[in-house]
């Protein structure tokens, strides 16, 4: 949908609650170079949500929504879990159907949108938790990568089943004691980024959401690479502070602690040659645009 189509009928404008007027007037649909810095200056695409106070998932959500290259033409696919309590509040079309089938849904969706709107670019982004992505849905996650489906998969990795109350998941670290792992988890954290690389993803990032800049860049790259080349995968640590016994204000520290050298979430990325070329092209274009803008500003200042 072009950004111009996201508006309220003039004759009923005044009866619309303010949040809707706000989203039409002040959201960043269609804005060139949108990013996390718009947060606080514009209307965000996420309204109030019901996550726990201080949940790092909520900030990751906000960064991701702020960083989408074209939210006006993006459809999200979610899965069951804490994320699905946020999605009703997201001002982008999004789908919840079952637990774990998100990459199957996204496959059908992306293909249908390509059949129905051959002249438009429609981005599809999957956003699900680690249980959905790695345990119950691993088959469909990987098969979509084998088939080179052109959409982005984002995994909010909180290393357990948060919404059902903190049970062991495949992405939980070895030895961690939790519900359903009463003597500690007996096997290693599943290495999904490596699996993603081998399964055919063109751009893979493992990170936390402690640095908005990084999240923004990863999302931009992942969506563009998925659009032009093939599947991409981003795994973001969003610790469940509730289930690992932390306080509301400790989420950021937890992420920072885990991303240091040798940590479970030390930043890493795998990029195919084709994806690297595309990303370089985008970076160069961005630099050139910035330079041109600077020179224009200079010229304007002189005049």
């Amino acid at each position: 949908m072009s950004a111009e189509k996201i508006k309220i009928c003039e004759d009923l404008y005044d009866i619309m609650p303010p949040e809707y007027q706000d989203i039409v007037e002040n959201a960043t649909y269609g804005k060139e170079g949108r990013g996390w810095k718009d947060i606080g200056e514009s209307k965000e695409l996420i309204e109030q949500h019901s996550l726990c106070a201080g949940c790092p998932e909520s900030i990751a959500f906000r960064y991701i929504l702020a960083s989408l290259p074209a939210p006006e033409d993006t459809v999200f696919v979610g899965s069951t879990g804490c994320t699905s309590l946020v999605f009703p509040m997201v001002a982008v079309h999004n789908i919840h159907s079952l637990f774990g089938n998100q990459n199957a849904i996204a496959t059908g969706l992306k293909r249908a949108l390509m059949v129905r709107h051959p002249d438009k670019v429609k981005d599809v982004v999957v956003l699900a938790g680690d249980g959905a992505t790695v345990d119950i849905g691993l088959d469909m996650t990987m098969q979509s990568w084998f088939r080179q489906e052109k959409f982005t998969t984002i995994c909010f990795d909180n290393e357990l089943y948060a919404n059902t109350g903190g049970q062991e998941s495949g992405l939980m670290q070895k030895g961690f004691v939790s519900k359903m792992a009463p003597v500690g988890k007996l096997f290693d954290k599943v290495r999904l980024p490596e699996i993603a690389r081998e399964a055919g993803c063109h751009y893979v990032v493992m990170m936390t959401s402690s640095k908005p800049n990084r999240v923004e860049k990863a999302i931009r790259n992942a969506v563009h690479v998925a659009r032009e080349i093939g599947p991409t995968y981003i795994q973001i640590y969003t610790p469940c502070i509730l289930e690992i016994g932390k306080q509301s204000m400790e989420g950021l520290d937890e992420m920072k602690d885990s991303e240091g050298i040798g940590g479970r979430f030390t930043y890493k990325e795998y990029v195919t040659d084709a994806a690297a070329a595309l990303i370089k092209e985008m970076d160069d274009a961005e630099k050139a645009a910035k330079k041109a803008a600077r020179e224009k500003a200079k010229a304007a200042a002189k005049a």
């Binding site: 009928c9 609650p17 949500h49």
Partner: protein, 213 residues
């Protein structure tokens, strides 16, 4: 099977779906009143009469007419505003369908997951849905019949709603205007609006005030 009458509620703990009770939707050119199939004009006249009789007659416009996603929607919005002004009838939007956190403001909006809150809060005794997706309209209509005594009507762009007390189908701009025409005609014939005095909720944001709107 006898006719299942779709009357204002509250009807039972969970009112049945009228379709399950054997009520069939009207054909083009028809409407239904309380489940009985009638010519469309008869339904229109009854709708206008019900609206004028109401103490708090309210139009619930939905996303399909609130959002300017095509020119037809804009024209329908205009026609709906004219209908509201003809009464005058109150306008309360159903802007979207999400379960809203932490709560809705029942004074200014209606939500399909608990439409009864808006009916109760504003003491709405007669309402009409227009531009709401059929599935969400049916949820609302059933919940309203379940928990309130509001007379429900539905002006549907598709096949109509058997869970409303009154409904007509294929609602075009012309049909919305026709309903306005009926309101005006009845008023001209001396039918007086029984509506309580009200102030239509309006939200004029700051940036609009600055523009002088």
């Amino acid at each position: 099977m006898d006719l299942y009458k779709v009357s204002p509620g509250p009807e039972s703990f969970l009112p049945p779906a009228a379709a399950k009770m054997g009520n069939v939707l009207p054909d083009p050119g028809q409407g239904h009143i309380g489940g009985t199939i009638v010519p469309e004009e008869e339904a229109m006249e009854m709708a206008a009469r019900k609206f004028l009789e109401g103490k708090v007659p309210t139009i619930f416009p939905g996303p399909l007419v609130l959002w300017h996603w095509n020119e037809k929607a804009a024209k329908k919005a205009k026609a709906i505003r004219a209908l509201a002004d003809a009464g005058p009838f109150r306008l309360i939007p159903m802007a979207d369908y999400r379960p809203k956190y932490p709560k809705i403001n029942p004074e200014v909006e209606i939500n399909p997951n608990h439409p009864n809150l808006t009916i109760w809060h504003n003491e709405i005794d007669v309402c009409i849905f227009v531009g709401v997706h059929c599935h969400q309209a049916n949820l609302s209509l059933k919940i309203i019949r379940g928990g309130t005594d509001c007379y429900t009507m539905a002006m549907c762009a598709q096949a109509g709603h058997e869970d409303a007390c009154l409904s007509f189908r294929d609602a075009t701009v012309e049909k919305i205007e026709r309903l306005t025409w009926w309101v005006n005609k009845l008023k001209a014939e001396g039918v007086k609006s029984q509506a309580k005095e009200f102030t239509q909720f309006k939200h004029i944001p700051k940036w609009r005030e600055a523009e002088g709107n």
